[in-house]
C-alpha cells in the first residue's frame, strides 16, 4: 500500500481518537447534567500544565496522570459546589458562569506561568514502522489509549452500579431521589469526572501541542461540534460525532489543505445545527 496513504489514514484515525477523548468530558457533563461547560478547554490546559510540572520536576511522565486527576478533580468539585450547583436547570446562566470560569482559569494560568510558551518533552520519542510507513509511536499509543478510555468509560457506565445510578438520575431525577440516590453527590462526582477527563486529555496531548494559557480555546470548539453532530449522552453518538468532525477535517486537510479542512468542519457543523439540531441519531 502507498505509505503516504497509510500515513494519512492513520492521521485520520488519530484525529478521531483524540477528538473523542477531548470531547468525552464535555459530553459527560453536557449529556448527563445538561451543563455546557465552556471552561472544558481550560481544564485540558490545566491537565497539560500538570504534565509540564511533572516533567519539570524530573518525575516520570505517568506521574502526570494522578496529578492531573487530583488537580482537575479538586477544581471540578469546588466549581461544581460553588458555581454549577446553584445553577442546574438554568442553561443560559451556566453558560455565562462557565464562560467566566474559563476567563478566570486562563488569567490564573497567565499569572502563575506567564504567557510564554512551554514545551513538554515527548515521553515516547521516535517512529514505529506500521504497514510500510513510519508513524510517530506516541501518536499510535494515544490512539490505543483513547480507544481504551472511551470504551472503558462506556462499559463502566453500562455495567457498574454507579453508572446504573447515574442513568437512573438522568432518566428520572424525582424517582432517583425516592429510591435514595443522593443526586447532589452523584452530580458533583459526574461533573468532577468530566473535568478529570479533560485533564487526562490535556496530559495526553501536552507533548504534541503549544503549551500556553490560551491553548484551551483550540479544543473546546471542535469538541462542541462533535457533540452537535453526535447528539448527547450516547457512546455511539460521541464516536460518530468525533468521526464526522475529526474525519472531515483530516480528510479534507489531506486532500486539499487545512483551510478547506477547517471550512468543511464549519459547514458540516452549521448544516447539522440548522437541519438536524438533535444530531445524527435524533428521532
Amino acid at each position: 500500500m502507498d505509505p503516504i496513504l497509510v500515513t494519512q489514514g492513520l492521521n485520520l484515525v488519530f484525529a478521531v481518537a483524540v477528538l473523542a477523548v477531548l470531547a468525552l468530558g464535555l459530553a459527560v457533563v453536557f449529556g448527563l447534567l445538561g451543563v455546557l461547560n465552556l471552561a472544558h478547554g481550560e481544564f485540558i490546559m490545566v491537565g497539560a500544565y500538570c504534565a509540564w510540572a511533572t516533567t519539570a520536576a524530573g518525575l516520570p511522565y505517568v506521574a502526570a496522570i494522578p496529578l492531573a486527576i487530583a488537580v482537575c478533580g479538586g477544581l471540578g468539585l469546588t466549581v461544581e459546589r460553588w458555581l454549577i450547583r446553584p445553577l442546574y436547570r438554568r442553561p443560559f446562566d451556566t453558560l455565562v458562569a462557565t464562560w467566566g470560569l474559563s476567563l478566570l482559569l486562563r488569567k490564573a494560568a497567565e499569572a502563575a506561568f506567564g504567557l510564554s510558551f512551554r514545551n513538554v518533552a515527548m515521553p515516547l520519542p521516535g517512529t514505529v514502522r506500521v504497514l510500510g510507513t513510519d508513524y510517530p509511536g506516541y501518536r499510535l499509543l494515544l490512539i490505543a489509549i483513547s480507544a481504551a478510555i472511551v470504551g472503558g468509560l462506556m462499559l463502566w457506565y453500562r455495567r457498574s452500579r454507579t453508572g446504573l445510578r447515574i442513568r437512573a438520575m438522568v432518566g428520572n431525577p424525582d424517582l432517583a431521589q425516592a429510591v435514595g440516590i443522593r443526586a447532589t453527590r452523584l452530580a458533583a462526582g459526574t461533573f468532577a469526572a468530566g473535568t478529570c477527563l479533560a485533564g487526562l486529555g490535556g496530559v495526553m496531548i501536552a507533548p504534541l501541542v503549544p503549551l500556553q494559557p490560551l491553548m484551551g480555546l483550540d479544543f473546546v470548539l471542535r469538541s462542541f461540534f462533535a457533540l452537535v453532530i453526535g447528539g448527547l449522552g450516547s457512546a455511539v453518538g460521541l464516536f460518530a460525532g468525533s468521526a464526522v468532525i475529526g474525519g472531515v477535517d483530516s480528510l479534507v486537510s489531506a486532500l486539499l489543505d487545512a483551510t478547506w479542512g477547517y471550512f468543511a468542519v464549519l459547514v458540516v457543523a452549521i448544516l447539522f445545527l440548522w437541519r438536524r439540531p438533535g444530531g445524527l441519531f435524533a428521532r
Binding site: S116, R118, N119, A121, M122, P136, R139, S250
Partner: protein
C-alpha cells in the same frame, strides 16, 4: 505638497488664546511649559491580543533607551517621555489611539511594534504629520512618507539563509508553509525569487488559516511525500510551535532542514529541544548573542529591571533600537518637520544593540545573524554585515 507639521501652528493658536485671557497663574503656566518641553513619543506595543507576550519586553526596552537618552541630555535638549498605547487591538482602535495621541497628547513622534494591518491604519491616519518609526520584523515595501522601517525584511532574512543553505547544505528544493495573511504571502513571494536566484525550486506552497485551531499531521505527511531539502516556515506563534513539534514527531527532522522566518526565543521555547534539530532562523538579534554591545545592553537591562525583567527577543528589543533611532533622526533633522526628517534619514548611521546600522530609503542596512537551534538556544553560525533591506523608498 504641504507636509508641514501641524503642531506648531496649533501651539501658537493656543498660546494666543492664553494671552487673550491674560490671567493664567504663573505656576500653572510653568508646569504647562515643563510638560510642553518634553519630547513625547507615542509608542504602540502589543499590550493585548495574541502578541501580548511581547508587550512588557517592548515597554521595558523602550524605557531603558529613553533613560539612557535622558541621562545624556534628551532629544534636542528635551526630556523624552513615552506614552505606551495598545497596538495589539483591531486596526480601527489603533487609528483612534493615534488620533488621540496627536490631538490631545500632541506627541512629537510615533513608534510602533505591531502587525502590518495596524501599521496601515496608523499610516493612513497620521498621513506623515509626525515621524512614525515602525520597528518589528515585517514583509517590506512600506513607503508612505515620514515612516521609517527598522525591522528585518524577507530579503535580510531569506537572502543570507537561502544562500547559505544552497552553498553549505546543497539545498535545491523548497516547501513553503505559512499562515494565511499578508506577511507570509509577501515573504514567500520574495523567497521564491531568492530561491530562483540560487537555482533552486519551490515544490509546493501552502497556507493555513490564522487564528484557527490548526493541526499539522496532514501537512507534515504531504511534506514527507514531497521530500524537499528545506521547509520555509512563515507560520507564527502557536502554529509555528505546533508545526515544528509535529514535524519532528514524524521524524522528518532527520532529513529535512527547516528555516523559519519568525523564530525567536519564546517560540523556540515552545518548540522544545526534542523538536529543534536542523531548524534555522535569521534575525537581527538573539538574546544570547555574545557581542560586547549586547553584553552591555543586557547588563543595563538587568540593572534597571532586575531578575523579574521580561525575557528578551528581537521583538521587544526592536523598541530600544527604535527610540535610539528616533534620537539620531531628530537630532540630525534638528526637529520633527517631515521634510527635514525624511532628508536627514537618508544615510543616517545609528547605534543598535548589535552593530551600527545605516538607513537607506527609510529602511535599514543592518547586521543579520544566521543561527541554528541547539536545544532551546540559538547558535549563530554566520554573521552578515550591512544586509540591504530590499526596499528603498524615494524621497
Amino acid at each position: 505638497m504641504s507636509m508641514g507639521n501641524l503642531t506648531p501652528t496649533r501651539r501658537r493658536l493656543l498660546a494666543g488664546g492664553a494671552a487673550a485671557f491674560g490671567a493664567a497663574p504663573a505656576i500653572l503656566s510653568g508646569i504647562a511649559r515643563a510638560a510642553d518641553k518634553d519630547f513625547k513619543i507615542g509608542i504602540f506595543l502589543p499590550l493585548s491580543g495574541p502578541a501580548a507576550l511581547f508587550g512588557p519586553t517592548g515597554r521595558a526596552c523602550a524605557e531603558l533607551a529613553a533613560d539612557e537618552i535622558n541621562k545624556a541630555g534628551g532629544i534636542l535638549g528635551r526630556q523624552v517621555r513615552l506614552l505606551p498605547t495598545d497596538g495589539g487591538t483591531a486596526p480601527a482602535e489603533a487609528a483612534k489611539s493615534a488620533v488621540r495621541l496627536m490631538l490631545e497628547e500632541k506627541v512629537d513622534m510615533l513608534l510602533g511594534s505591531h502587525d502590518s494591518a495596524v501599521r496601515g491604519a496608523i499610516a493612513t491616519t497620521v498621513k506623515g504629520k509626525v515621524p512614525y518609526v515602525y520597528t518589528p520584523v515585517y514583509e517590506g515595501g512600506e513607503c508612505s512618507p515620514n515612516i521609517y522601517c527598522l525591522g528585518e525584511t524577507p530579503d535580510q532574512q531569506g537572502g543570507p539563509a537561502i544562500g547559505w543553505l544552497a552553498t553549505e547544505r546543497k539545498a535545491r528544493t523548497y516547501y513553503l508553509i505559512g499562515n494565511d495573511y499578508g506577511w507570509p504571502r509577501k515573504t514567500n513571494e520574495r523567497a521564491r525569487r531568492l530561491i530562483a536566484d540560487q537555482g533552486g525550486s519551490v515544490i509546493a506552497e501552502e497556507y493555513l488559516p490564522l487564528g484557527a485551531p490548526n493541526k499539522f499531521e496532514e501537512a507534515v505527511t504531504r511534506i514527507k511525500a514531497a521530500r524537499p531539502d528545506v521547509v520555509l516556515i512563515t507560520l507564527v506563534g502557536a502554529d509555528n510551535v505546533n508545526f515544528n513539534r509535529t514535524f519532528a514527531g514524524f521524524g522528518l527532522d532527520r532529513d529535512i532542514a527547516r528555516f523559519a522566518f519568525l523564530l525567536e526565543e519564546n517560540t523556540l521555547a515552545g518548540i522544545g529541544a526534542d523538536a529543534s534539530r536542523e531548524l534555522y532562523a535569521c534575525m537581527g538579534y538573539f538574546a544570547d548573542l555574545d557581542w560586547p554591545t549586547n553584553r552591555q545592553f543586557k547588563a543595563a537591562y538587568a540593572a534597571k529591571f532586575g531578575d523579574k525583567a521580561p525575557a528578551l527577543s528581537t521583538i521587544g528589543v526592536d523598541s530600544f533600537t527604535g527610540i535610539k533611532f528616533a534620537r539620531a533622526l531628530v537630532e540630525k533633522a534638528k526637529g520633527t518637520d517631515a521634510r527635514a526628517c525624511m532628508a536627514a534619514s537618508e544615510g543616517l548611521r545609528f547605534d543598535t544593540v548589535t552593530a551600527p546600522a545605516i538607513m537607506r530609503g527609510r529602511h535599514v542596512d543592518k547586521t543579520m545573524f544566521l543561527a541554528r537551534c541547539q536545544g532551546t538556544k540559538f547558535e549563530v553560525i554566520k554573521t552578515f554585515g550591512f544586509v540591504p533591506s530590499g526596499t528603498a523608498c524615494g524621497a
